[in-house]
Amino acid sequence: MFAALRKSFSLTAEQRALFKAKRIEGRFGPDDLIAKLKPLAEFDRIGDKGRSAGCGIIATLVLVAVVGGFLVLASDVSPVWFLGIVGTCLFFIVVVAVLNARLSRLDDQENYLRSVALPFLSALRQDLADGAELDVRIDFSRIKQKSKRDRVEKPPLPKGFSKLVNTYYKNPWFEGSAPLAIGGRVHWQVTDTLLESSRTKRGSSGKWKMKTKTKKTSRLDVKLALPARRYRAVSAGDPDVAIGDRRIEVALARKMASGESTPVLDGLIDLVALAFNKVKPITANTEATP
């Protein structure tokens, strides 16, 4: 936790501004972009650990206060001891809670920056042309906010329910395109959709109960455009490959029913790899085994 706090004090003004905006957009050199993202990702990682540690400290202090207070009350020692133990614990609980809140305010974001965007860009950097620049947009703010609300539906009520509202949030949070060293361009987009279903029902005892449940999916889109004079489709009639006069384009999409980051990273890398596998060079084979 203290490492996270130290790190938070060492953030530069630009990094603080990026954390506040929770968005990076523009044209960057790959090395510049990765150098910009790395400290943010590192702070996000340390911040998450720090907050977990803070919660652990608070839980321990509560336990100490309860057990210590009970033992003091059960024994014959002065009540001053009770006040001392409980008061000290309460003081430190407040201090840790305030520090945790400070970390949360600064680091209130999805983990996608460190667990998807940064590793994907590090991998893609190796395939870019020398001196190439990427067009990138990364929005790492939370998906559940008003500006990302896509639509609200009130479907027919199932039996026994008095209210049912489905709210859909849409978040195209990672998008970009980059020129490749082998010629052509790759474009990718990751869009998260969150379905939040709130249901209200009156139980047999007459008590009203409300439950809210969520489900998140990620849609990955990859487009690969390569010069048609140098590449051809691996299999003729492939519906994912469009062959034009000048360009051959591969367009793939994939829906992932997962809110976790690692499958999204794996899915994105695999999808780009699959797009490359659908075309092959007409002349010399540029792909070789490592």
Partner: protein, 145 residues
């Protein structure tokens, strides 16, 4: 020794040919500083990644699961995406290319219907009974908020 004999790139491999700093004792290829294990001129990053994969493949680590194809996919990661991860992942990409499969599910056509949730997704909520809280906790993949 003309230039680095390792391949550069992630999705597409091409010759590196940077100036050589040593030769890998495993694959005997000449390698540049970028392709040598950091602080070493005796092993290339490809061979290190191969060794790591060979060590990991019989029993996946904690936090990994084995897919139906038998490949280990790490499900949790602590953000340590370094050069080793990059080279290990590159080899998995080559394996994917060799088998023609993509991990983690089917690939839809780009022109498939754009709705992120289909009927089945929404219907999954229909079984919920707010009277029985256990149902909420036992549901697959749903999280209370």
């Amino acid at each position: 020794m003309s230039g680095c004999e390792c391949k550069t790139g992630f999705f597409t491999l091409r010759a590196c040919e940077k100036s050589v700093v040593g030769r890998c004792y495993t694959c005997k290829r000449a390698m540049c500083r970028d392709h040598a294990v950091p602080a070493s001129t005796t092993q290339c990053l490809d061979c290190l990644a191969k060794e790591k994969r060979a060590r990991q493949s019989p029993t996946p680590n904690r936090g990994s699961k084995v897919t139906s194809r038998g490949t280990a996919h790490t499900t949790t990661h602590d953000g340590d995406y370094d050069e080793n991860w990059l080279y290990e992942r590159r080899q998995r990409v080559r394996d994917t290319a060799a088998t023609g499969t993509v991990g983690g599910g089917a690939v839809a056509s780009h022109h498939a219907s754009g709705g992120a949730f289909d009927e089945q997704d929404v219907r999954a909520f229909d079984d919920l009974d707010v009277e029985r809280d256990d149902d909420f906790n036992a549901s697959s993949g749903f999280g209370d908020s």
